[in-house]
Amino acid sequence: MQHHLILRVVARLLLPPIFLYALYVQWHGDYGPGGGFQAGVIFAVGFILYALINGVDALTRVVPPRALILLLAAGLLLYAGTGIATLLLGQDFLDYSALSHDAVHGQEWGILIVELGVGITVAAAMTAIFLAFAGRSASVEDKDW
């Protein structure tokens, strides 16, 4: 990719809007289409684009694989932990009304938290799967395609 000047410049311009859009989809999922799954995928796409342009090594310097694996588990634990928290607060598993003094408010908080958990797990999963593939293959020359 080193000599593809146009691709590198365009990708560098695209990266900030991609991450911003992922955050928008994550936090705006309550009001419009989107949510944790889509936001996680878009976030991962940003990382993958970075790796396609700068190489896999550059990506592993930004997000170490060890951190990815921790995040992979952290998102799921955040989701399941919300369920445990509502249990401890005296409600059913994943009944978010217990999370706040007001039941509706608790639901809003609960939905935001579990969507964040979904987003973290999906983003880490997609990036990790990409790293597993890309880390194995020898670099592909342009003429091979």
């Binding site: 309550d30 998102g75 369920g83 809003e108 999963a125 597993a132 593939f133 880390g135």
Partner: protein, 182 residues
């Protein structure tokens, strides 16, 4: 107008599917399957299912195409010629397709207010979601709150999928590129 959009999208969908079935170059097949997902996402938008369309475009059109290309980099680029003929699979596809089309004859018209799906729990969710959860997007309210168990399971599926890929293909925990198998 809507009919024309649907027809064009369906025509391109069918053409893409035929091209995928006929091509032997796997790189072209991977790119076309991404196009197929994008066209399917367009159809979902036409059906007013924007959340599904969003997922299809992001996952089917984006990430899974990249994963297929990543897998392709470890494989030969040309599909092998099948040893058997195409007649049996073709007949099987046509019979299954005919059965599915036959099944849709009894279905209520699209968007019909008398459809069972609109008369059962659907109105209940639409009426209760905003006052109970405070979330205007009913899809999100159902997904994360009313069906929170299901979504926890789905997230677990993604977690397990990623762990499985990492266990099979391996990922180097240190920095630096991992060459070949271990």
């Amino acid at each position: 107008m809507m009919i024309a959009v649907d027809l064009i999208l369906f025509a391109f969908l069918i053409l893409t599917a035929i091209a995928i079935a006929r091509l032997r170059n796997l790189f072209a097949v991977a790119m076309l399957s991404g196009l197929f997902s994008l066209l399917a996402a367009g159809l979902f938008v036409a059906l007013d299912a924007v959340d599904v369309a969003f997922t299809e475009a992001a996952v089917g059109g984006g990430v899974s195409t990249i994963f297929m290309l990543g897998a392709l980099a470890l494989m030969p680029r040309e599909e092998k010629r099948p040893v058997h003929g195409a007649l049996l699979p073709l007949v099987l596809c046509l019979v299954t397709g005919a059965a599915l089309v036959y099944g849709t004859i009894d279905m209520p018209a699209f968007g019909s207010p008398d459809a069972p799906v609109q008369r059962h729990v659907g109105p209940e969710y639409l009426a209760r979601a905003l006052p109970e959860t405070g979330v205007p997007n009913v899809v999100t309210a159902v997904l994360a709150s009313y069906r929170g168990y299901d979504t926890l399971g789905e997230t677990t599926v993604i977690f397990v999928a990623a762990i499985s890929v990492l266990m099979i293909l391996g990922i180097s925990l240190g920095s630096g590129r991992q060459k070949g198998g271990e």
